[in-house]
């Protein structure tokens, strides 16, 4: 019974691993470029929560890269197989929609973990951040990656063309991840934008993730965990409902 899931997961991992230059090395490079530029400009001027700016920035960049790539993994896999028609190979076998869901989400989380590890390893060269509570780091990475992986499934199922998916990515995922306190503390924002940021679930994912490094955060990590967990459950439920209905996959 479980074998369909296992093979589909293996296939999804092999798919991104075979093109790891694009799927892992490229996002690591992007994150390093952000780090080089912002730390060059701001390292001397800024401390956040009493932490040197470069150190503060690293966890945010790690998490942002992980989240964006979790989304990219499931969404691009689905849209590609839909556009080329090869999605039929996973629709013909006896694979349940639940197995289908978990295979894509777990693959997205694994890609998120690899990208996170890659960014972290390269940025050690710039600054070595503390890791006071590694269990929080892993927990937020898995929940955040899972949420974005499931959201990527929704986008990949919904989109009929690559440009529709790009729209989803550019107008939803990018703003959500960029305006989430990766580059700043919430408290440095004007009150209005602080309020707006509190409606962005990605803010909590990044804030909780960063707590695992420094033991300080904008909001208590338990609150962030509740938001990240609820996001994961809600997006998962929506994705499972779509898969169950066969929306755009089984006519």
């Amino acid at each position: 019974m479980i074998s369909g899931f296992r093979t589909l997961l293996y296939k999804e991992v092999l798919r991104f691993w075979k093109v790891n230059f694009q799927t892992i090395a490229a996002p690591v490079l992007t994150a390093v470029l952000y780090l080089m530029i912002f730390s060059h400009v701001l390292e001397a001027q800024l401390q956040v929560h009493g932490i040197a700016y470069t150190s503060f920035l690293i966890p945010g960049l790690v998490m942002m890269s992980a989240l964006q790539n979790a989304f990219a993994n499931s969404s691009s896999s689905l849209i590609q197989s839909k556009v080329t028609g090869s999605v039929i190979f996973v629709l013909l076998p006896p694979i349940s929609y639940v197995e289908f869901f978990f295979a894509y989400v777990v693959a997205a989380v694994l890609r998120a973990l690899m990208v996170a590890l890659g960014v972290l390893l390269v940025t050690i060269w710039f600054a070595v951040p503390a890791m006071v509570a590694p269990q929080w780091i892993l927990l937020f990475l898995v929940l955040g990656g899972g949420t974005m992986g499931a959201l990527g499934m929704i986008a990949g199922i919904w989109a009929d063309k690559f440009d529709q998916l790009a729209g989803f990515q550019n107008f939803l995922i990018m703003p959500l991840t960029m305006l989430s306190g990766v580059f700043y503390s919430l408290h440095s924002l004007p009150v209005f934008w602080q309020q707006v940021s509190r409606f962005n679930p990605v803010f909590y994912m990044i804030d909780g993730f960063r707590f695992g490094f420094f033991g300080v955060s904008d909001v208590p990590p338990e609150n962030s965990l509740a938001v990240a967990g609820t996001s994961f459950l809600m997006v998962s439920a929506a994705t499972l409902a779509l898969l169950r209905s066969g929306y755009k996959l089984r006519s």
Partner: protein
């Protein structure tokens, strides 16, 4: 005897379009069954419903006793489908593709069978080649291989020889015939009617989502049968109107469909009387193409053959 496939009053609606308008048919185990019809007749829709790619709006489909909706796991494990579109996953080699497809069906360590399929489809030399680098005909054969990894007792081939050259087509049919002899039920849709005539024991013809003919190939041929007489008249002579009404004309050739050979004599006599001189004459036995055209022109055929 249990049916390999049973289709009961299946309807499929796409918006206002009724793609399948109540299709019923039963296919016994071990049959080589043909599904024919013009484009848009509903062949692929029917296959999609059988394979679980589409959900029927009404009716039910059963594979080897298992309902394809309520018992989809068992039904899909017993069914192998070669899709019509030439699709492939560009990330993998031929062998990876087949290993992965085996895994989807819960089969691990399938190497012996994979090697056997590859050999039979003349793909052994391409096992470690990326799918992207294969020619169209090779990709088509990999699709056949993918449908067979789990040794399904029921095999559905949706236009499997489109774009495959003659030599490979022969090889492919030899292999499929062997699978059929070994007990696999084969369901085939094709545009090559001579292929269907040579391979299929029984044939259903679909038109606008309905079964308009369902009989053994030999009965279909016998019923429409007879022969066709094609002739060309010398010079600018014309057929008398009572004869031309019975014939169809194509590039100067007049074609008569004959119920029996006895009809030839009076026909020629009538022509002689009218002073027509015959330049060229051919007598041919009706083939499936004539049957097909006949059925598609008169959709009342089903009432005569299906009780």
């Amino acid at each position: 005897m249990p049916f390999a496939v049973a289709v009961e009053r299946v309807e499929k609606r796409f918006g206002s379009l009724l793609a399948l308008a109540g299709v019923s048919l039963q296919i016994s185990e071990g049959e080589f069954f043909g599904l024919l019809g013009p484009n848009g007749a509903g062949k692929t829709t029917l296959i999609s419903c059988l394979a679980g790619l589409s959900r029927p709006s009404a009716g039910k489909l059963v594979v080897m006793g298992y309902d394809v909706v309520s018992n989809y796991r068992a039904a899909r494990r017993l069914l192998g489908v070669v899709p019509q579109e030439l699709v492939f996953d560009p990330f993998f080699t031929v062998r990876e593709t087949l290993r992965i497809q085996s895994g989807y069906f819960g089969i691990r360590h399938n190497e012996d069978w994979i090697d056997e399929i590859l050999a039979n489809l003349d793909l052994t030399g391409k096992a470690d080649t990326n799918m992207r680098r294969l020619s169209g005909g090779m990709k088509r054969r990999v699709l056949v291989a993918q449908a067979l990894v789990h040794k399904p007792p029921v095999i559905v081939l949706d236009e499997p020889t489109a774009g495959v050259d003659v030599e490979l087509r022969q090889g492919l049919w030899q292999f499929i015939r062997r699978l059929n002899r070994d007990g696999h039920t084969v369901i085939l849709t094709t545009h090559y009617l001579e292929e269907a005539e040579a391979l299929c024991g029984r044939i259903a013809m679909l038109k606008q989502g309905r079964v308009v003919a369902l009989d053994t190939t030999s009965n279909l041929l016998a019923r429409f049968a007879g022969h066709t007489l094609a002739l060309r008249l010398a010079g600018s002579a014309k057929l008398p109107p009572e004869l031309s009404a019975r014939a169809t004309q194509n590039e100067g050739m007049w074609t008569f469909r004959l119920g029996s050979l006895g009809e030839i004599e009076p026909l020629l006599a009538a022509m002689r009387e009218a002073g027509c001189v015959i330049d060229d004459l051919r007598l041919t036995q009706a083939d499936l193409e004539d049957v097909f055209l006949g059925v598609m022109q008169s959709s009342d055929y089903r009432k005569e053959t299906v009780p």
